[in-house]
């Protein structure tokens, strides 16, 4: 059976901070807006246990911030579909075509806010222990290690926040990072003050061992060149992110880092296609800058739609 075709003023790809902000603005301007999300509404911050640098909040859980923003966007008429999956996009035609498992959407404007995915642990044993020793969601799987030994791998804010959070389950947590921390000073200080965390900088996990489940790991001390084996029941991997641009690589110019090339106006090389949030190549990637991108993309999209409309009438 042929898929149903549905026209939308704007289709937003991704329901993280940038996508939902764009949806809220576009909905408020009475545009017909659909947000498609292949993963989790909220994206990377859905896992954040306490955000302390979003203006107007002393501390807020990522899930709570996103839930409120989703409600704001929906109150203005935006529709958010997190269950359908995008299969293909065709951006160089007008209208642009977004084919999902269930439908074909024809959109006058597309805002790409597909964000980033967590980088996988680059070891061949990753697949063997995924879900039973190697994890990427501390909120989902942290409880599996109640009273057990945990390792967190990574040196950014997300990794250090995860380490702090996971000490609610364990008295022994190794924080393993290959170089020096990239996290901000406030977050680093929290980790240093946590007596349950043993910080292991300049170290790398070289191998995972265990029968059926993870039991121990080999760690290389990069300074001394020595490798030692330590008992660990679960590793939570937070070693950065990769841009979620696979769908667009044949349509848009990507930068060396795999992000979409677009300026501060969020305009890509294709008229009517905007890139917003972490998926756009830019120097600073924060929640606030994602919100700013969503705002910019939605307002300029509305302006473009008005121009399309004027041309049609002329």
């Amino acid at each position: 059976m042929a898929k149903e075709q549905v026209h939308k003023d704007i289709v937003i790809i991704g329901a993280g901070m940038a996508g939902l902000t764009a949806a809220m603005y576009a909905g408020r301007m009475n545009l017909d807006v659909l947000v498609l999300e292949n993963g989790i509404v909220g994206g990377q911050i859905a896992n954040a246990t306490g955000i302390e640098n979003y203006p107007g909040f002393i501390s807020v859980k990522g899930a709570d911030l996103i839930s409120t923003l989703q409600q704001q966007a929906e109150n203005f008429g935006a529709v958010i579909d997190e269950f359908d999956t995008i299969k293909k996009v065709t951006l160089r035609e007008n209208p642009k075509i977004i084919e999902t498992e269930e439908k074909i959407y024809l959109a006058d404007v597309v805002i790409i806010a597909s964000g980033m995915n967590r980088r996988k642990l680059p070891l061949p044993e990753e697949r063997k222990f995924a879900g039973c020793g190697v994890h990427y969601c501390e909120l989902c799987d942290g409880h599996m290690y109640n009273g057990k030994i945990i390792a967190v791998m990574g040196g950014g804010n997300a990794a250090l926040d995860a380490a702090n959070f996971l000490t609610k389950y364990t008295d022994k947590l190794y924080l393993i990072h290959r170089s020096e921390f990239r996290a901000d000073e406030v977050t680093q200080e929290k980790v240093r003050q946590n007596p349950k965390i043993e910080i292991m900088l300049q170290t790398e996990i070289k191998a995972l061992h265990g029968a059926g489940k993870l039991e121990n790991i080999d760690i290389l001390d990069k300074k001394s060149g020595e490798t030692k084996n330590i008992a660990v029941d679960g590793i939570f991997v937070n070693i950065g992110v990769v841009p979620n641009t696979e769908l667009f690589k044949d349509e848009l110019k990507l930068t060396a880092s795999g992000r979409i090339a677009a300026g501060e106006d969020c305009k890509t090389e294709i008229e009517g296609v905007f890139a917003a949030g972490d998926v756009r190549e830019k120097e600073i990637r924060q929640l606030t800058t994602a919100a700013a991108d969503g705002t910019t993309a939605a307002l300029l999209a509305e302006k473009l739609l008005r121009n399309f409309s004027k041309k049609e009438k002329a």
């Binding site: 989790i40 509404v41 909220g42 859905a46 896992n47 859980k61 899930a63 997190e82 269950f83 999956t85 879900g131 039973c132 969601c137 909120l139 989902c140 799987d141 409880h143 599996m144």
Partner: protein
């Protein structure tokens, strides 16, 4: 009755629950961090201690994580 084994704050658990609601499927959500029996039942079902979300309708077949296709098959949606 469909059962969904979850833990609080798990975004994939929330996604499964939202999906079932969107399909008007009645279900019982059981938090395995707070409910010892649910934790034991979930372990018996999957053999993986603490893995969530787990959805089952008959206590024998189950879907781990959010997998729309598998959920549709399990629940005949």
């Amino acid at each position: 009755m469909v059962k969904v084994y979850t833990v609080e704050g798990c975004p994939y658990c929330e996604k499964v629950k939202k999906y079932l609601k969107s399909k008007d499927v009645e279900f019982e959500a059981l938090d395995i961090e707070k409910d010892e029996k649910a934790r034991a039942d979930c372990l018996k079902l999957t053999g993986i201690a603490g893995a969530v979300p787990v959805t089952t309708i008959d206590g024998e077949n189950y879907v781990l994580d959010f997998d729309k296709q598998k959920l549709d098959e399990l629940l005949c949606l």
